[in-house]
């Protein structure tokens, strides 16, 4: 009986403690659902390299991730949209945004007779979502798509009915290209769409689009590619029509100067190859880590993710960080410290 109690105690000790020499270090993260497939891949690969570090990520949504990191119930948070000023004000100490990967939002549609290659300009896209263009044979659509036979089907707009980073990026883009959208609707994780039907999640929007002739909606790039949805080409700032691609998304962040907080809006970016609806996805970490061992493990993991980890992105349809932005992220990671001592000691 006594030996049983002892072994039970040993098991409990192993499972519970995180500090110690040969023991498992367990890191908890929570937040955005969008980068979840990539983050779980990273965590699996990283554990192969460092068996003692166990990282657990719960994809509960960006809002939940922000709430949990503010309450310090997790070691790191994750969010697609940068934190608002109101949220930042709640942080007890310096909380950093670390860009980890890039995502994009694409416009998907179902127009009878037009299976691929629909082209949309900024004002036409905004007018459709404002409810100003109501049928597919509108002359403005026709002039953008010469040679395409557009039917008179009424347009059904499909949007995300749940709060989401995808909506935040998409509406940020619409607000950037259309003053009317900016003043009457605005940007955010959930907004009051002037027209259309709501679907829950990427799959909900896809459900509406797939089962409604004449529908147009927006979903994540990765989701659209994996489900082989019809994707529209958008006219970018340079006036070129671009189909969404990982290169086009990375191009949106290439050669741009990152601001002090590393939060850079990538919508409607410059460059001929740039896809216009792109965004960073961030991990949120406190500059001052409370536990040196855990802090060190977290910093090392993040360092690995922005370097070696990037190569796992393409297979999962995540655009890699542009090479010229990595130094700024490195500098930020080097600021992570515990007890006044930097956690990453590289040149």
């Amino acid at each position: 009986m006594k030996t049983f109690a002892n072994s039970l105690l040993a098991v409990l000790a192993c499972a519970a403690t995180t500090v110690g020499s040969a023991q498992t270090i367990s890191l908890q993260g929570a937040g955005a659902t969008f980068p979840y497939p990539l983050y779980s891949k990273w965590m699996a690969e990283y554990q192969k390299l460092h068996p003692s570090v166990q990282i657990n990520y719960q994809s509960i949504g960006s809002g939940g991730g922000i709430k949990q990191i503010l309450e310090r119930t997790v070691d790191f948070g994750a969010t697609d949209a940068e934190m608002t000023a109101q949220e930042r004000a709640k942080a007890a100490s310096t909380l950093h945004h670390i860009p980890m990967t890039l995502g994009a939002v694409v416009v998907t549609y179902q127009v009878p007779g037009v299976s691929t290659g629909l082209k949309l300009s900024q004002d036409v896209l905004a007018s459709i979502f404002m409810g100003r263009i109501t049928a597919w044979n509108d002359p403005r659509l026709a002039s953008l798509n010469p040679g395409v036979k557009l039917p008179g089907t009424p347009i059904t707009v499909a949007y995300r009915s749940d709060g989401s980073g995808t909506t935040a990026v998409f509406t940020e883009y619409l607000a950037r290209i259309s003053p009317e959208w900016k003043s009457s609707v605005g940007a955010g994780k959930s907004v009051k769409f002037p027209v259309g039907l709501g679907g829950k999640g990427n799959e909900g929007v896809t459900g509406v689009v797939k089962s409604t002739p004449g529908a147009i909606g927006y979903v994540e790039l990765a989701y659209a590619r994996q489900n082989k949805l019809a994707i529209a080409s958008l006219r970018n700032q340079a006036g070129k029509f671009v189909e969404p691609s990982l290169e086009g998304v990375t191009a949106a962040a290439t050669g741009r100067k990152l601001p002090e907080d590393l939060c850079l809006s990538l919508v409607d970016g410059p460059g001929a190859r740039t896809y216009p609806i792109a965004s960073f996805s961030y991990i949120l970490v406190y500059q001052e880590q409370q536990d040196a061992t855990k802090g060190k493990a977290l910093a090392d993991f993040l360092w690995w993710a922005v370097h070696d980890g990037q190569k796992y992105g393409a297979a999962l349809d995540y655009a890699p960080l542009p090479k010229d932005q990595v130094p700024a992220i490195e500098a930020r990671l080097k600021q992570l410290a515990a007890g006044g001592k930097a956690l990453i000691s590289r040149k």
């Binding site: 949504g61 809002g63 994780k189 039907l197 829950k200």
Partner: protein, 322 residues
């Protein structure tokens, strides 16, 4: 005379050991019963607390405002309340006749070899997860409504306010039909059990007085089963009010109040479920919680009304099962 007063003279008053065991048992069950009340009260209190900012900001206006704009931090519950109530009651309107018909057939007319399998099938329908109903709604029901049913309705009744706008399949009509299918088995199977519980002496009496089968059901069996059937209806309505997944998949998720069955709507349960995870503003969170509070209030109110109704009906003819 209820069970307890009937049993009281029969229970043992012998050895103290048995008595103390009884005592422990009584206290234990009272504790559990108390816990249920406590959980309910704690939930209501927590929700009230969490929705305080919204209660303070909007007051009663929250119930009458149709504005819902997270960007401007302006919130009103009316379209959601409307959507929940309208879809649930319409669903009830559609489901009730079918469910009652099924129950009466199963209990009174069906031969034994039909009764068992059909009864099991009906109960099976109640066990299907709501997301499956939702998928059926997206891929089967709403295209069918859009292409066949709604254009027909519009041609025939387009002059009424109920069938206007572009038929899109998704919307109030799809929402209430999916709900109707979902609550149908609940109402049907509970009503059947209630009808079966009506004592055969009542049927025999009615038949002996020269009633036909139909007259027997209408004049003798149904009045006896009234309060039980009402309970079944309330059970179904409760399921419809709280249903989240299936509704959100087909109703169109647009906070809109319209007479037209073609136009999209929204519901209290689905807006809370789909927005809570990503909501971060204090007022936004409070407003969402207040929607939950309203749903809580609606179900509570419904149950009170149901209690009163059952109580009234229950005092009718004797022999009904309570």
């Amino acid at each position: 005379m209820d069970a307890r007063s009937r049993l009281a003279p029969l229970s043992r008053t012998g050895s103290p050991a048995v008595l103390s065991g009884d005592r422990v048992f009584q206290v234990l069950t009272a504790l559990f019963a108390g816990l249920v009340v406590l959980i309910l009260a704690a939930m209501a209190f927590q929700m009230l607390l969490a929705s305080l900012p919204s209660l303070r900001q909007f007051g009663w206006g929250f119930l009458s405002s149709s504005e819902w704009d997270p960007v401007l931090d302006a919130y009103g519950a009316l379209p959601y309340l409307f959507g929940t109530l309208a879809s649930s009651f319409l669903a009830l309107l559609v489901a009730l006749p079918v469910a009652l018909g099924t129950a009466i057939y199963l209990a009174e007319f069906a031969p034994l070899w039909v009764r068992r399998p059909l009864g099991i099938l009906v109960e099976l329908l109640a066990a299907i997860p709501s997301v499956i109903y939702g998928l059926w709604g997206i891929f089967v029901l709403s295209p069918w409504l859009r292409d066949s049913v709604q254009p027909l309705l519009q041609r025939a009744f387009g002059w009424t306010p109920f069938f206007q706008g572009i038929p899109r399949g998704f919307g109030m009509m799809a929402g209430c039909l999916v709900l109707a299918v979902m609550i149908l088995p609940t109402i049907a199977s509970v009503s059947r059990d209630v009808l079966l519980a009506v004592p055969d002496t009542i049927r025999e009496g009615a038949l002996a007085l020269g009633a036909t089968r139909w007259e027997m059901v209408r004049k003798a069996v149904l009045p006896c089963a009234g309060s039980g059937i009402l309970g079944a209806v309330i059970l179904g309505l409760g399921r419809a009010l709280g249903e989240t997944m299936a509704v959100t998949m087909v109703i169109g998720n647009r906070p809109e109040i319209s007479w037209s069955l073609f136009s999209p709507g929204h519901s209290l349960a689905s807006v809370v479920a789909s927005n809570y995870a990503e909501a971060s503003g204090d007022l936004y969170l409070a407003a969402l919680t207040e929607l939950g509070l309203i749903l809580f209030g609606v179900t509570l109110l419904l149950n009170i009304v149901a209690r009163l109704l059952i109580w009234r009906v229950g005092r009718g003819p004797a022999g009904a099962r309570h």
